[in-house]
């Protein structure tokens, strides 16, 4: 079958065609996951000045943690700063869409929530926004997974995923770990 260079090239092109089908299948399933199942890398390109983050309204300390906004969106705001997440523990409802909004006043940080697809970098200068639905209830890890200084190894927060009926916002719509 490889008698002449022409046959060789033809066999290579047939292999290339087969391999292209392989790549198209993977690319297609990736596209399907994005289109129908809302599996996208988080990006919302929203700028915020890290130097004055602590002076803003949204990321002021009392407004951090989980809150049900007036339009019903469950939003968890977390600040990632050198060597701790504020608040170090957040409560989120299961089986209900949650929006995580994170910002950093100093370094590049990053979060993942173990056992879920929740993952984003937290870059000073930008607000990171992640939309997800937590299927399993329980206590999940939320570490900082980007090197941010000598205390990086200790930078670890918790996510308490509670069943919908145990998710009881207070008057201002806030839910915190201490209250649980």
């Amino acid at each position: 079958m490889a008698a002449t260079e022409h046959e060789v090239v033809r066999s290579e092109l047939r292999w290339a065609a087969a391999v292209s089908v392989f790549v198209v299948i993977i690319f297609g399933l990736t596209l399907f996951a994005a289109l129908a199942l809302h599996r996208n890398p988080p990006s919302n390109l929203e700028r915020i000045d890290p130097k004055t983050l602590h002076l803003t309204g949204e990321f002021t300390e009392p407004n951090l943690g989980t809150r049900v906004e007036q339009n019903g969106q469950v939003t968890t705001r977390i600040v990632a700063t050198q060597f701790a997440f504020i608040p170090p523990c957040v409560v989120v409802p299961a089986d209900r869409e949650v929006t995580l909004r994170l910002a950093s006043p100093d370094m590049i940080h990053g979060i993942l929530v173990s056992g879920t697809n929740v993952n984003t970098m937290v870059v000073p200068g930008y607000v990171s926004q992640v939309h997800t639905v937590f299927r399993t209830t329980g206590n999940l890890l939320m570490p900082c997974h980007e090197f941010c200084g000598l205390g990086h190894s200790q930078m670890l927060a918790r996510v308490h995923v509670v069943p919908a009926q145990d998710f009881r916002p207070d008057a201002e719509g806030r839910v915190s770990c201490e209250a649980q």
């Binding site: 079958m1 490889a2 399933l29 996951a33 199942l37 809302h38 599996r39 990006s43 639905v133």
Partner: protein, 59 residues
């Protein structure tokens, strides 16, 4: 400075028409490569279905 194309030692010199042994080339490569790529696709799809999708919405 002879560089690349002398002929002695291990390499068997090919006579003009193909020796009998090379008739089936590249069927072995297609078989081995095909199995490897197929297993790769199956592995990718298993991770896609069993780990990626159940872990929920993102982004």
């Amino acid at each position: 400075m002879d560089s690349t194309h002398n002929t002695e030692s291990r390499r068997v010199d090919l006579d003009p028409q193909q020796p009998l042994a090379l008739r089936e080339v590249p069927s072995g490569a297609v078989a081995l490569g095909g199995i490897a790529v197929l297993l790769l696709l199956i592995a990718w799809i298993l991770i896609y279905l069993l780990i990626y999708l159940p872990r929920g919405m993102i982004g």
